[in-house]
């Protein structure tokens, strides 16, 4: 039952005005060979522009894959025969194995800290009225305008004083902090969509606030938590500047920095660069495929409606 409710929360209750617009679906999904509905666009007006855009989107991906699996020196546009030489070179000689591990640590730690801290903050915003609530909301919104790149110098000083330069912890903290405002806003949006009455019923049944939250609210928040956690993971996986600046030892670096050193190499080894790119892309593509259907719901529940 909770699973069904979670699905419902993820898809429907994110759009309160939706119910009135649902019924037409019945007559919109018809068999081929039917007459056109009032709101239907000629097919070519969908497929032609979409096709052009798909080509623009996919060619760059194809190009990277092609260079990654094509033997050095080949100019063929078909990746056959395939070779793994670029991958093994990047993974072993260019220490991408280490970078990958570091990026994973940073990504997973950022995911956990961001989700937990944002869950607490989001719950406070969604369920309580307290004195500094508006000030806190304002601070969250304002922080969106503060450029992370321009704060490198003071952040560097802080981590130097904390003796955290060259520790992955500094990057985890920095990523978490810059991920928090949006995450809190998103999660509080999701919590607002869970009726208070559900929680109150659990209190009446004798649950503590915490237990009621864990048993009743948390299962319904699953889509929201997945969206927020994935954003945090993808962002910290991709982000380049903090790792570049706070981690000076090579064996502490993350994948984007490793890619940048490949780009900066004097004689650019394009095969190695492409293979590094593929390694960098794989985790985010997996995460993306997984969250894709929650992405739109996540934005409409939290970000757009505030």
């Amino acid at each position: 039952m909770t699973a069904a409710l979670a699905e419902k929360n993820g898809t429907d209750s994110a759009h309160p005005p939706a119910p009135s617009s649902r019924p037409p679906t019945a007559h919109r999904r018809r068999k081929p060979g039917r007459e056109r509905a009032f709101d239907e666009v000629p097919r070519w007006q969908i497929y032609v522009p979409l096709g052009i855009y798909l080509v623009f989107t996919l060619i760059p991906f194809y190009w990277m894959l092609l260079f990654a699996v094509r033997p050095a020196g080949s100019t063929s546009l078909v990746p056959w025969p395939m070779t793994g030489e670029h991958f093994s070179k990047v993974w072993n000689e260019r220490s991408f194995a280490v970078f990958f591990q570091n990026s994973m640590i940073v990504g997973v730690c950022t995911l956990i800290t961001t989700t937990l801290v944002a869950l607490a903050g989001g719950y406070a915003l969604a369920r309580f009225n307290f004195k500094i609530k508006n000030a806190f909301m304002l601070a969250l919104l304002c922080s969106q305008f503060i450029p992370g790149a321009l704060m490198l110098v003071p952040l560097f000083e802080i981590f130097k004083n904390l003796r955290m330069i060259n520790s992955l912890g500094s990057v985890v903290i920095a990523e978490t902090v810059f991920q928090l405002p949006l995450s809190i806003i998103l999660i509080s949006g999701f919590i607002k969509n869970v009726p208070v009455s559900l929680e109150e019923a659990a209190w009446v049944d004798g649950c503590s606030r915490l237990r009621a939250f864990c048993a009743v609210v948390l299962p319904l928040l699953r889509p929201g938590l997945i969206a927020v956690g994935s954003f945090a993971f993808v962002h910290s996986w991709n982000h380049f500047l903090f790792a570049l600046m706070f981690l000076s030892e090579q064996d502490k670096q993350t994948i984007p920095v490793g890619l940048n050193t490949l780009i900066g190499a004097d004689s650019v080894d394009l095969g190695a660069l492409a293979a590094g790119g593929v390694i960098a892309a794989v985790p985010v593509v997996i995460v993306f495929a997984f969250i894709q259907k929650w992405l739109i719901t996540g934005f409409s529940a939290g970000a757009v409606k505030g």
Binding site: R28, F38, F128, P154, E157, S197, E200, V234, L259, V304
Partner: protein, 309 residues
């Protein structure tokens, strides 16, 4: 059945003795609040503080209070500041305008019902998950003059491309623009699509009955509905495009000949590579004030949140 129980009992709820509910919300926002105080608020204040200092690691004997010297230097002596500010403006306006147009079109298309919609959505949105450095990597492969896309075009007899588009001052702007569009458009499309889903179908039905064409429906129903989402998305994206350095840093390194150096790139060069933290902080302060000013003017002009629906 949980709901039924809730309806039966009045909303008055027995209070828990532990963790006084007065203090609980403060306890809950404490972790987020402390992190943001320490790693956002404090750095912001120290940027303002450094901007009034001579603070240069390579010239420690000159360090100390400088008053407004850094700021006078920006506005009277530093030509590079104006050049990079100009490029930043050009970059932000181009990106936001093109991303909005293309993103809106893309969102309208994938909002239709058609065969293969799910997989198309997944594919056209996929660059969203790709980082600036990875985008650079991919486009460096495509733009490479000896093995890139242009080489194949030249082989097929279409055009003649001697040098990489990234090392030519005439083409580098558009080359970088296309690369950034590739991953920027999906973001806009996702945001707009999210809002499109809440437009009531009845409105279109009614408009259609009244004889309004597709174009009129778009301008009189869709656009007004999307208004606030578009204003907010363009603003956030503008700020983000202004501040972001990942792509340009790795794709062009600000070159050739400083042609693609944005203000934040210039700040990073001054502060991190030039070790002139005081001056970099003053530049940061000026950038922040400009950004804040533009945002406020934009929100005023666009009448965000006004009852225009």
């Amino acid at each position: 059945m949980a709901q039924a129980a809730a309806v039966a009992t009045p909303p008055k709820v027995p209070r828990r003795r532990s963790a006084s509910p007065r203090r609980l919300p403060y306890l809950l926002i404490a972790p987020a609040g402390l992190l943001m105080l320490g790693f956002i608020a404090y750095p912001v204040v120290s940027v303002f503080y450094y901007s009034l200092q001579n603070y240069n690691v390579t010239k420690p004997w000159r360090n100390g209070f400088a008053g407004l010297d850094n700021f006078t230097r920006i506005f009277t002596e530093d030509d590079q500041f104006w050049t990079t500010l100009g490029f930043s403006a050009q970059w932000v306006v181009t990106q936001v305008a093109l991303q909005l147009t293309l993103g809106l079109a893309l969102a309208l298309i994938v909002n239709q019902t058609f065969i293969g919609r799910g997989i198309s959505r997944a594919m056209v949105f996929s660059p969203w998950a790709v980082s600036g450095v990875l985008t650079s990597t991919i486009w460096i492969l495509l733009y490479n003059s000896s093995t890139g896309f242009s080489r194949y075009l030249a082989d097929a007899g279409i055009g003649d491309y001697g040098t990489s588009v990234l090392s030519d001052t005439g083409t580098v702007f558009w080359a970088a623009t296309v690369a950034e569009l590739w991953r920027g458009v999906p973001f806009f499309a996702i945001l707009i699509l999210a809002d499109l889903q809440s437009v009531s179908k009845e409105l279109y039905e009614a408009a259609s009955v009244d004889g309004a064409g597709r174009l009129r429906q778009f301008f009189h129903i869709t656009l007004p509905h999307l208004r606030d989402a578009i204003i907010l998305a363009t603003l956030l994206r503008g700020v983000w495009e202004f501040n972001n350095v990942d792509l340009l840093y790795t794709l062009t390194g600000g070159g050739p000949a400083g042609e693609t150096t944005t203000l934040p790139l210039y700040v990073a060069n001054t502060g991190i590579e030039g070790h002139d933290f005081g001056y970099a902080s003053a530049l940061t302060t000026v950038a922040f004030v400009i950004l804040l000013f533009c945002s406020i003017v934009y929100l005023r002009l666009s009448k965000f949140g006004g009852d225009h629906k």
